[in-house]
């Protein structure tokens, strides 16, 4: 049994009581069904796919390359001289204590730091070999999409939320029948379709927190980005919703590259192919998930994993 399978099993075992317990709660019956079904069907498959790649250094071709990247707020560096590369179809988790620069680094990848008045970065970030500063920012952001820590559905219907980028990005405003298949597909990929089908006109703000976050994922993947950035996507969610989204990340990584910031070490261990540990702006160590967790090379990594600080 691989470490990955062990973890997967441990998780499903750990979570079952929670699921059973909450099945008495009739408020969210669909969530419960969804979760138990997902855990049974998805977990073994995921364990398979991840054990395959555990040993290999890269999944596919290199998509994103960071060369000596530093990010500054004014003169204060928030990220210092980070170099790493991200390959097609992998899940890279950025871990580290608060204020270590992991979210800043993530927001630099789609140039969202530009919204912060005095933020700047040095070094090179290449998307498929192109310097991202030379791409048109709106094009870059439709290729590198993002999901935020707090679910942020727009105050519109579910349909309008998912179709939002598709509508806004096209020169000629597409009509509803043209959007419908794309919206449905995005909702299906985000695992939300079954729960909301038949009433896509409902306000997105009336969904539960977990559903809202999956809606945001659907919205982010509707325009078929190449890379998905996730900034602690589960930190505002309950354990059941978290498990659903973690499974979803496994599904999505089949044809998407995912960079996820997480505060939750066990989550990184469950979902990531590789893990990067950052501390006070430095990239301390990056490696295969199992190596980071079982045989970290750096003293700081070992202490952080063991819970000495953070």
């Amino acid at each position: 049994m691989s470490a990955r399978e062990r973890l997967a099993n441990a998780r499903s075992g750990k979570l079952r009581p929670a699921a059973r317990q909450s099945s008495e709660n009739v408020a969210l019956p669909i969530d419960n069904l969804e979760l138990t079904a997902d855990l049974m069907s998805v977990t073994p498959e995921k364990a398979d796919s991840t054990t395959q790649v555990a040993g290999t250094a890269a999944h596919g071709r290199e998509r994103l390359r960071l060369d000596d990247v530093s990010v500054f707020y004014g003169n204060t560096p928030a990220v210092k001289n980070v170099s790493l590369s991200i390959s097609h179809g992998e899940v890279l988790a950025l871990i580290g204590p608060s204020g270590c620069g992991k979210t800043t680094l993530l927001r630099t990848l789609n140039r969202l730091t530009e919204l912060t008045p005095n933020a700047s970065h040095s070094g090179q970030i290449l998307l498929d070999g192109d310097e991202i500063d030379e791409l048109v920012d709106t094009d870059l952001r439709s290729r590198i999409s993002m999901v935020f820590q707090q679910p942020n559905p727009f105050p519109m219907s579910i349909f309008d939320n998912v179709g939002f980028a598709l509508r806004e990005q096209s020169r000629r405003r597409p009509r509803r029948p043209e959007l419908e298949p794309l919206v449905n597909q995005a909702l299906q990929r985000a695992g939300l379709y079954e729960e909301v089908r038949g009433d896509l006109g409902r306000s997105a703000l009336r969904l539960s927190g977990g559903q809202q976050q999956r809606l945001c994922i659907a919205r982010a993947i509707a325009q078929k980005p190449e890379i998905l950035l996730m900034d602690e996507p589960c930190s505002a969610l309950d354990p059941r919703s978290t498990a659903v989204i973690e499974d979803l990340i496994g599904q999505l990584s089949k044809d998407l590259t995912i960079v996820i910031v997480t505060h939750n070490l066990q989550q990184a261990r469950r979902i990531a192919d590789r893990v990067a540990f950052m501390y006070l702006g430095d990239l301390v160590e990056i490696g295969e998930t199992e190596q980071i967790f079982t045989a970290p090379r750096e003293q700081q990594t070992r202490e952080y994993i063991a819970g000495v600080f953070g």
Binding site: L112, N152, F164, C216, Q223
Partner: protein, 327 residues
């Protein structure tokens, strides 16, 4: 005794006190309506609704009323107020349109694009502008702007061309619209700015992260989200524009003429009178019962229009609330 007063109020008595204040307000409004309708009754009973129509000049009709006896015959109540109603719609309509465009642009700039220093200075300035007494605008208008318009914008030949109907003095529709716009824009801007600032930053940021440029993100998400507030602000501003009297009477040209768009450029220099400004202008003749009743009828129309405005703003907002959390 003092002890009794100092003792904290129970929720129950506080509730009753607040309820009494609210009831008092409602009673006040009802009394005002009764008072106005009663005052306007002779006009309604003698003229029906035909006084809303057109025919002749309200100025001369009201002028004639001033000389009727204290027990005027029904024929003394004849008035055709259409030029005033038309003037009110014209000035308020243009002013609200301009003010809406200006305040939307200004709010978007202040909230989403201005550097922090500019934002911090603009906001109090706009609030200050909203608090400027309207009559100051009227004073600047009549002392500075009207003479300037008369000197530089209205030509001799234009004055000659209409000399046998009206006098072009510089005061008129154009300057009235400009001043009313100036008066209602600050409060609209303040209201829309507040609404825009209350839009969660995460919405706009989310839209930008989906590949929209910042302006599109503001328009597609933030502005869309505050549509109810925009409608409410517009309704409020429209009610103020309709009822504005003093400033309009100062710069409108003092003639209840109905400006004709077919006149081209002169259209904006033609004199105009609104319901409110006509009330101000004729108020000195209130001693005559016919004038008294007619002005109350104008007041009733203004009151009814502002009720209709707030009701329609409310109805327009209803379907927009559908996607809010608390509906």
């Amino acid at each position: 005794m003092l002890d009794r007063v100092r003792r904290p109020w129970s929720d129950h008595s506080a509730e009753r006190l607040l309820g009494a204040v609210a009831c008092l307000l409602a009673v006040g409004i009802i009394l005002m309506i009764v008072f106005i309708v009663r005052g306007a009754w002779p006009t309604f009973s003698h003229e029906g609704l035909s006084w809303l129509g057109s025919g002749g000049s309200p100025d001369s009709q009201l002028g004639a009323m001033a000389y009727t006896s204290s027990k005027p015959p029904p024929s003394a109540f004849v008035v055709h107020a259409w030029p005033l109603i038309y003037g009110t719609i014209l000035t308020a309509g243009f002013a609200v349109l301009f003010a809406l465009a200006i305040s939307l642009a200004a709010s978007i700039f202040i909230v989403d694009f201005a550097p922090p220093l500019v934002r911090r200075t603009m906001k109090p300035i706009i609030r200050l502008l909203a608090a400027v007494p309207g009559v100051l605008y009227g004073l600047v208008g009549i002392l500075v702007l009207v003479p300037l318009i008369n000197k530089y914008l209205v030509t001799e030949s234009e004055q000659q061309s209409v000399a046998n109907v009206i006098q072009l003095t510089g005061g008129g529709l154009g300057i009235t619209i400009v001043l009313v716009t100036l008066m209602i824009t600050p409060i609209m801007t303040a209201l829309i700015t507040d609404a825009l600032e209350s839009v969660p930053r995460a919405w706009r940021e989310g839209a930008i992260a989906l590949g929209l440029n910042p302006l599109r993100a503001t328009l597609a998400v933030s502005l869309r989200a505050i549509r109810p507030a925009i409608i409410a602000a517009t309704g409020l501003a429209a009610a103020r524009a309709i009822g504005e009297a003093i400033v309009v009477s100062m710069v409108s040209g003092g003639n209840s003429f109905a400006p004709n768009p077919a006149d081209g450029k002169i259209f904006f220099f033609e004199p105009v009178e609104t319901l409110g400004s006509e009330i101000v202008r004729v108020a000195e003749d209130l001693g005559a019962p016919a004038v008294h009743s007619t002005l109350y009828a104008f007041a009733a129309l203004l009151l009814f229009s502002s009720f209709a405005l707030s009701l329609s703003a409310y109805l327009v907002k209803l379907p927009l609330r559908r996607y809010q959390v608390s509906s």
